[in-house]
């Protein structure tokens, strides 16, 4: 869990060496041992019905069994594919609309009211509407995830393009840059930190609602569906195994995607993280 901690500590500590490092790892594992032990005691003591509160060994066992049987990886891959395709939709349309809004007053006046009305409504509230209009299944799920996660992308791209200094644009123009060069050499690089922030927020949002969308949209595979289906048969162990996978995916997204994007922008543009 060392990874988890460095995410949040601002001004990441330099990598400690030797015993210092083991101490750090031990320190991070300790809270999990405490919580795990409490869980075990409660489970063994039979405070709650066993089916509803399985021991950690059972959860681990079903995790291993499901992984070997290939069921868990299949669910996870379907979920990831859905996440990526939804996010790709959001990235393409979101950046497109956002940049257009930033560049043209007309586009801004047209899109801004629509976006400001649709954005504050919680994403899942659209779910039944999408299911009615586009049917149950994958298409609705991906479309909904894309639709919902495009709002932060649009807002941030728009702000980013607007934040490009007027003086850069004018100096590039006076040095003879045409529209295309102006766009690719001045506006896009200038807006990129914002756009990346928007993409990061969009991906986070997509991830947050995807699980719920899978529960509602009756897709054949997917982690959300797995844990929701497990409820019917009181398979709490399967449910907890599924939640573990969800947590791992969430943590890796945080660590390997969001963190990387942030490092990249912060380092490259010399912006300081709060």
């Amino acid at each position: 869990m060392q990874e988890a901690v460095t995410i949040t500590v601002s001004g990441a500590p330099e990598r400690p060496a030797g015993s210092e490092r083991w101490r750090l790892i031990a320190r991070n594992i300790f809270p999990f041992l405490v919580v795990g032990a409490i869980w075990e005691v409660v489970a063994w003591a039979g405070v709650f019905p066993h089916r509803l509160f399985p021991t950690l060994e059972e959860v681990a066992l079903s995790f291993v069994q499901l992984t070997i049987a290939g069921i868990l990886p299949h669910h996870a891959i379907e979920t990831l594919l859905r996440l990526l395709s939804g996010f790709a939709l959001a990235a393409i349309f979101g950046v497109g609309i956002g940049v257009l809004m930033g560049r043209s007053r007309l586009a801004e006046d047209i899109f801004l009211p629509l976006v400001s009305i649709c954005a504050p409504i919680p994403g899942l509230a659209y779910a039944p509407l999408f299911l009615l209009w586009f049917g149950l299944g994958n298409f609705s799920a991906v479309l909904l995830v894309g639709f919902v996660s495009s709002f932060p992308v649009i807002f941030n791209s728009w702000t980013g393009v607007k934040a490009v200094r007027e003086i850069w644009v004018r100096s590039a123009q006076s040095m003879g840059a045409d529209d295309r060069r102006l766009f690719s050499h001045v506006i896009l690089p200038g807006a990129l930190p914002y756009i990346l922030t928007g993409l990061r927020l969009g991906l986070a949002q997509a991830w947050r609602i995807l699980v719920a969308v899978e529960m509602l949209a009756a897709v054949p595979w997917g982690l959300g569906w797995l844990i929701f289906g497990a409820r019917e048969f009181l398979n709490t162990d399967i449910m907890l195994a599924g939640i573990t996978v969800i947590a791992v995916i969430g943590l890796s997204l945080e660590k390997f995607v969001f963190q990387k994007i942030e490092d990249y922008t912060v380092v490259r543009w010399g912006m300081v993280a709060a």
Partner: protein
């Protein structure tokens, strides 16, 4: 063109856009290409909204949702705020809780809905707990980074002027961290609002805006669905702008601190 004139033109265009969008929708709804049950006219939606408001059912649903949001939000503040302050002030507390928080935070709140349904059944308890789970982390994190970011010079200056631990806390740390705390509350409320709708849909009880939308799907009552969407949007907007906007103006802006934690 003056800035004022430009603003006028923008508002004009916004009005035109909305009118055109509404007209397009209306045309599609009336064209008969789509089933009227799936694409009700704006007139029907308005009528449904008005009648649901008039017979009090919409208000009852909204009240049920607000009760869950407020209860969950309250719990999140009660847990997140002190824990965030403790974590920022005491290294030991931080060492113990930070790994747990970092591991729990990336789990989307909705993925706990089925588990909580098994444990606590369908209804208020589950929804409130989901809301609480969703809102605690932004609250906690913003408080934590707010208290940590209090300028050490202020602490030392106050200490040098003879402030005791108690005064230091109330007069320096809390006001210094306040912009972050307000941001945390704002984000937490936003999360609550998102979580409550989803939790109500999945862990359906008998009341609540999320439940109405989902229930309306079963009977193809798209008009009820759209009417509830309007109400959900309006309440969210109202809270975001009026409540948190005015809290921010009354405290943070008046104190001249507009820094904010990033989401």
């Amino acid at each position: 063109m003056s800035e004022n004139g430009r603003q006028m033109r923008s508002m004009w265009r916004a009005a035109v856009t909305l009118a055109v969008a509404a007209a397009c929708y209306e045309a599609a709804a009336r064209s008969g290409y789509f089933a009227p049950a799936l694409l009700p006219t704006l007139e029907t939606v308005t009528k449904t909204l008005v009648s649901m408001l008039a017979d009090g059912s919409m208000i009852a649903h909204a009240a049920a949702t607000m009760y869950r949001v407020m209860f969950g939000f309250f719990l999140a503040v009660v847990v997140g705020l002190p824990l965030g302050i403790l974590m920022a002030r005491f290294q030991r507390v931080e060492n113990f809780f930070m790994p747990l928080v970092s591991a729990l935070m990336p789990i989307p709140s909705f993925s706990l809905v089925p588990l909580f349904m098994l444990w606590f059944g369908i209804g208020n308890t589950t929804t409130i707990l989901i809301v609480f789970y969703a809102a605690t982390f932004p609250m906690l994190f913003n408080t934590w980074s707010g208290v940590r970011s209090v300028n050490p010079i202020w602490l030392r200056a106050a200490g040098a002027m003879g402030a005791d631990e108690h005064k230091l806390f109330w007069k320096v740390i809390i006001p210094g961290a306040f912009p972050f705390i307000v941001t945390g509350m704002r984000q937490a409320f936003l999360r609550c609002w998102i979580a409550v709708v989803g939790a109500e849909m999945i862990a359906a009880s008998d009341w609540g805006l999320g439940w109405v939308i989902f229930d309306a799907k079963e009977f193809l009552n798209t008009d009820i669905m759209l009417a509830s969407l309007v109400v959900i949007g309006a309440i969210g907007f109202l809270f975001e702008r009026l409540v948190f906007g005015s809290i921010e103006r009354a405290t943070v802006q008046r104190w001249g601190m507009t820094r904010a934690a990033k989401g």
